[in-house]
Symmetry: C2
């Protein structure tokens, strides 16, 4: 049963990474094969950085950042190190999203196209701003050592919810962006005539949606959460078995495992993990 | 604290209902004031049934169906009755979504516009089919008395996840639909010139997104779940306090409450509700 759970996790993770990777390949093929390629010249090739950076950074990297705590082979790493990886990946995704905005504003200004008129632009800009605030709040609350524990606990449900919500609206905004670009970019034949580019990019939209569904599934299964006990581990890297054996019963259970037998990690988790009232683990 | 939780629930619920209601008003004003009104004539007025039925049924009614178990004043009603209300509201939403599809196919065929070429149509049709399957599976598993309990428990996490996921992609598809319609429907001035209709319908898109966010928040807070104990209640309607007092300690706690003092219902819930491994309650 535990073995099944571990295998199931790995299956979903593999599927998510595969679909995410294929999405990145698709967006690159779209701009390099069907469109004008990539450049920084105020023209369509500069605009093309917008979908490439959004799909690669704001969708794919953000998705990985969301599930990074759940990878069983990171459970012997310190919580602090995992927080830095989580924050680092989100910072990378934020920078890519910000550059993707610069590309599209620069293109619009060079071509005298108005900015911020579409629903896509409204929701998309809101998503980037909310993502920036989420990152700032996350660093202040969970990385600064001065933040009191009660505040960390109180904010965690909101942190988790808004993280998943922002990820979801990023994907919804991507689907709107694909719709806009296919209508504006396909003239002869038009979008409604279903040329190969239209079909190809529709498939990209479906892939992004499936990636989102897999990440949300991985991120919301309580049985795949990082074990609570490992939060007490004080080492600041990925510990060996000796280090792991020092932090009590639950960790001892895990320290009996090694990377060849990760099912036992799930076993320890299943035996020891408890959910608090909010259904989320506090992150201290 | 418990009182705060109840007030907070009511605040979020009120906000969700208000935003959902305003969304319905907005979509009606869009088609009746800015567009061609409503008719069933193969023209644009027939197409207009599509956004009206989607926003009213597939978004607003589905959202209410999702949170209906969480309304504290329904906790003295039998679980079976609440299941019928949940299934009934979802069936109503499904019928409205199906008619909205007929409207758009009928319009396309009458105007010789190809069907099913856009990402909006792909994801939207998938959402309607998945919603139909979800409804069918839900009725078979949770309303037919022959389904074994272990199956009901095993399927519940999938039922909850896919319900929320379908609701989310319905909203994402609505945003794509708004984008398409504003690009195709606004010619002089165009969408990029931000005429009043463009601003108005962008706001509708934002309202739908906010409604989705509120419903997802309401539906995923463990502390606002229907108390587990009431699942053992056997009456088939909304019981009075006498009926409610028969089913054990937890229900006794609740039977001490009345509708004027709903905080105590939250209190009973907080003291007695436990989450299973999946973080969801089984529904038997």
């Amino acid at each position: 049963m535990v073995m099944d759970s571990h295998r199931l996790f790995l299956s979903f993770l593999t599927a998510a990474l595969a679909v995410g990777f294929v999405s990145v390949v698709f967006v690159l093929r779209w701009v390099l094969y069907f469109k004008e390629g990539l450049a920084w010249d105020g023209g369509l090739a500069e605009f093309n950085w917008h979908p490439v950076l959004v799909v690669t950074g704001f969708v794919f990297v953000q998705g990985i950042a969301i599930v990074v705590y759940r990878l069983p082979w990171t459970w012997k790493c310190s919580k602090m190190m995992m927080k830095f990886i989580h924050a680092g990946l989100n910072t990378l995704a934020f920078i890519m999203a910000a550059i993707s905005l610069v590309a599209v504003f620069d293109f619009h200004n060079a071509q005298n196209i108005p900015n911020m008129y579409s629903l896509h632009s409204w929701v998309g800009l809101a998503a980037v701003i909310l993502y920036g605030l989420q990152l700032l709040l996350g660093v202040c609350v969970y990385l600064l050592p001065i933040t009191p524990v009660y505040l960390r606990v109180a904010i965690m449900p909101l942190h988790v919810y808004s993280g998943l919500f922002i990820f979801t609206i990023v994907i919804a905004t991507s689907l709107m962006g694909i719709t806009e670009k296919l209508i504006f970019g396909l003239k002869d034949p038009k979008y409604k005539d279903s040329p190969p580019e239209a079909i190809f990019v529709n498939v990209l939209g479906v892939l992004i949606t499936v990636y989102g569904a897999l990440i949300l599934w991985l991120a919301t299964r309580p049985s795949w959460q990082r074990p609570r006990e490992l939060q007490h581990q004080t080492q600041h890297g990925c510990g060996d078995e000796t280090a792991g054996s020092k932090v009590g019963t639950a960790l001892s259970l895990l320290s009996n495992t090694n990377s060849d037998n990760p099912e036992s990690g799930f076993d320890a988790r299943k035996r020891n993990c408890k959910l608090d009232e909010s259904g989320q683990r506090s992150t201290m």
